[in-house]
Amino acid sequence: MSESLSAATAAPEIALNGLTRSEGGNHVLPPSSRPRRKNSGGIRAGLEVTLLSGPAVIIFLAFVIVPVIVALYYSFYSWKGFGTPNPVGWANYKWTLTNPQFWDAVKHNGIILVLSLVMQGPLAILLALLLNQKMRGRSIIRVLVFVPYVISEAIVGIGMSLMLQDTGAVNDLLNAHVGWLSSPKVAIWTLMFILTWKYIGFAIILMLAGLQGIPEELSEAAAVDGASYWQIQWHIMLPLLKPTIKIWAFLSIIGSMQLFDLVYVIWGQYIANIAGVSTMAYFMAQNGRLSGQLGRGSAIAIVVFLISLVVAIAYQRFILNRDTEGALTEAGEE
């Protein structure tokens, strides 16, 4: 996800240096590295490029591409991790696609995806607008808002699961008996609350950065023309923030599709599907690693990969691409 971000922000550079870059276009280059000399010292430049990008490319191949291919291979075998794999054809895929628990997990991912956008987006924009004002204690609020994002998922998970137990601190404080984690009707909302609390800081920081990139002259000019504060936010700030919002939404969607650690830590290895919060990655860990069926787990991984790929490409193609181009040209002209 960070790749797409850096690729998008670095786009104008590539456009500016398009001529030089096209020579080395058949190499995978970190977008931010720009050629230091033009034309002269071609061999040296090539050496530099290879030397600098080589390790990254090799690591990427060894730890991303090769495992994907290996997973594809093992997805057609029944394999427990040791011993000889038995070829089973499409059986692992059939098992996955006909398993109601898998579709439950897909549904939960969908719910989390939509709710994350709906809950975190508007809240983050409002808070970012607020924090963009000059006011007392602004930096301390910014830090506080960002703190949950910095805490590791495992610690958040353990802390939350202790507090939200039926006999935990939250029920004690409210003098209530709500099954925050165990009741299937409540648990998904508990998860959404935790996710919002945890990740809204990131959204706010992103929005703030976007807001600060908008030239002050625009809102000043509007104010001179008699626009009210809210008119300025609605007609100037929000439209100019659109590219940032879309990037954030993309990251949020990817995060929702991948969600695993919080669920695994809070609900443990077995009961997430019973509590109605299992995700695709959780289903994979449960039915691949935990059940010791690594071939089946590989098949689930491939299915999850394809689903995520379709969502990501569709978003890129239909939503992200067009507007980013326009917005980034503006940013480049700044």
Binding site: H27, G42, I43, A45, G46, L47, V49, T50, L51, G54, P55, V57, I58, I59, A62, K80, G81, F82, G83, W95, S161, L162, Q165, D166, T167, G168, H177, G179, L181, S182, P184, W267, G268, Q269, Y270, I271, N273, I274, A275, R289, L290, S291, G292, Q293, L294
Partner: protein, 442 residues
């Protein structure tokens, strides 16, 4: 242009070669640990699951003593948390980095490892004294008349309860012999406990503690033959009506709501909020567990000592059940050597663990029943003694169904039980889910 490309390729190849050399150097390192060698200093890795307290101290002592008696042998003991153990062991086997000595749960899990050639056949390597002393205790760790692990304890299951809380509620443990008396006890305990303590603690988040209730009802409902077919992993379908009866029994009992609040998100053994922790801190009157429980509970009391008023009674009979009312579910923790473990150091260590002297220390440290009967007099914990008596009276014992079935089907059976306890599956549906898992098992 051309030169540039060539140089890039050369450098790329160089970089790739460097990485490969690095990687293969790593793998050489890790495999050299497990290469068999008969002479010179050897290092063995040991994986156990005693994370704290006297159990951890036992392993530290055992390693130290063995190293002192066997110069040149180093044992590198690593603790792996119980719930993570099976998954991590499997991953290690997949990566060919199997620890030399590891905890063996027996049953289908053992069979998988044997079929993959990961476990050492120790039938003829066991010390003859230890072999004759333990005798039939090797059964759980045997497959096709070959022995693959040294059993260190026998863990019959039953209720571990607080005598104080029972007294408070006016319940006598010895009177709980059938379901009526168990239900009556729950009612009394609920009335006496109120919000202070729950009648029964259950760690359903770990799935297996909940599933053990189903195992126990099955043990009582099914004939010895039928139940032992599942306990040896031979059943492909739970077609005998006794299985559904067992699920119905558990469903009916679940509806009396005997558990601690939030049992679904309660773990089994970690921390004061776990089911064992609830018993250790008088927040629940009893729980159904194997004979490791006195030690686990002892590790979770405020002072870290065994619960002074802990008692034991076996699972009650069910009306019309075809199983023997004295029969017990029981597991055994065994210790295996990996097929590539340095010999004879590894088997020597297993023989050392099985010896009378070490077994006595083991029984005390884990408050459990040693597999070697010559160490039985070391058991001082009164609750464990009661369990040992029940074991000696048991007409037959069966291994945990999940261990017997192996990881895949075993977990599926366990999860079906939790789904039923959570009210999401009817007994029929839970049975259907189990049958699907059994049919796919193999």
């Amino acid at each position: 242009m051309h030169i540039r490309k060539t140089s890039q390729v050369v450098i790329g190849l160089l970089a790739a070669a460097t990485l490969l050399v690095g990687l293969s150097a790593c793998s050489n390192n890790s495999s050299s640990n497990t290469t068999p060698s008969s002479s010179g200093p050897v290092t063995l890795t040991l994986w156990h699951n005693a994370t704290s307290g006297q159990g951890l101290a036992y392993w530290q002592q055992a390693v130290k003593t063995f190293e002192a008696n066997n110069p040149g042998v180093t044992i590198n003991a690593q603790v792996v948390q119980n719930e993570d153990f099976d998954g991590k062991l499997q991953a290690a086997m997949a990566a060919n980095t199997t620890p030399d000595i590891f905890l063996q749960r027996g049953g289908g899990k053992l069979a998988d490892q044997v079929n993959a050639g990961q476990v050492l056949d120790i039938t003829n390597l066991i010390d003859s004294n230890v072999k004759s002393q333990i005798g039939g205790g090797f059964a759980v760790d045997s497959l096709n008349n070959k022995i693959y692990a040294m059993p260190l304890d026998i863990q019959p299951e039953g209720f571990w309860y607080s005598q104080n809380l029972f007294q408070k509620a006016g319940v006598t443990a010895s009177s709980i012999t059938d379901m009526d008396s168990l239900n009556a006890a729950v009612t009394k305990l609920k009335a006496a406990g109120g919000t202070d303590f729950a009648p029964i603690a259950l760690g359903a988040k770990d799935a297996w503690p909940a599933a053990h209730w189903f195992y126990q009802f099955s043990l009582r409902e099914c004939t010895q033959d039928t139940a032992s077919q599942l306990a040896t992993g031979q059943l492909k379908s739970l077609s005998d009506p006794c299985w559904l009866k067992a699920l119905n029994d558990l469903d009916a009992f679940n509806k009396t709501n005997p558990w601690n609040p939030g049992f679904l998100t309660t773990v089994g053994q970690q921390g004061a909020g776990s089911s064992a922790g609830l018993v250790a801190n008088y927040k629940a009157a009893m729980e159904l567990q194997g004979a490791w429980d006195p030690g686990v509970i002892g590790g979770l009391t405020p002072d870290g000592k065994n619960l002074p008023d802990l008692g034991y009674f076996p699972f009650p009979a069910v009306p019309g059940g075809q199983g023997d009312p004295t029969a017990l579910m029981a597991g055994a923790d065994g210790w295996s050597c990996s097929a590539k473990a340095p010999e004879p150091a590894c088997v020597n260590f297993l023989n050392f663990l099985g010896s009378t002297a070490q077994q006595k220390l083991y029984a005390v440290a884990f408050s459990t029943i040693p597999a070697n009967p010559t160490a039985a007099d070391a058991v001082t914990d009164p609750a464990t003694k009661t369990a040992a008596e029940a074991l000696s009276k048991a007409k037959y014992t069966l291994l945990w169904f999940d261990s017997a079935l192996g990881q895949d089907a075993g977990n599926a059976v366990n999860q079906a039980v939790v789904g039923m306890l959570a009210g999401q599956l009817t007994p029929d549906k839970a049975l259907a889910q189990m049958n699907t898992a059994l049919a796919n098992n193999g």
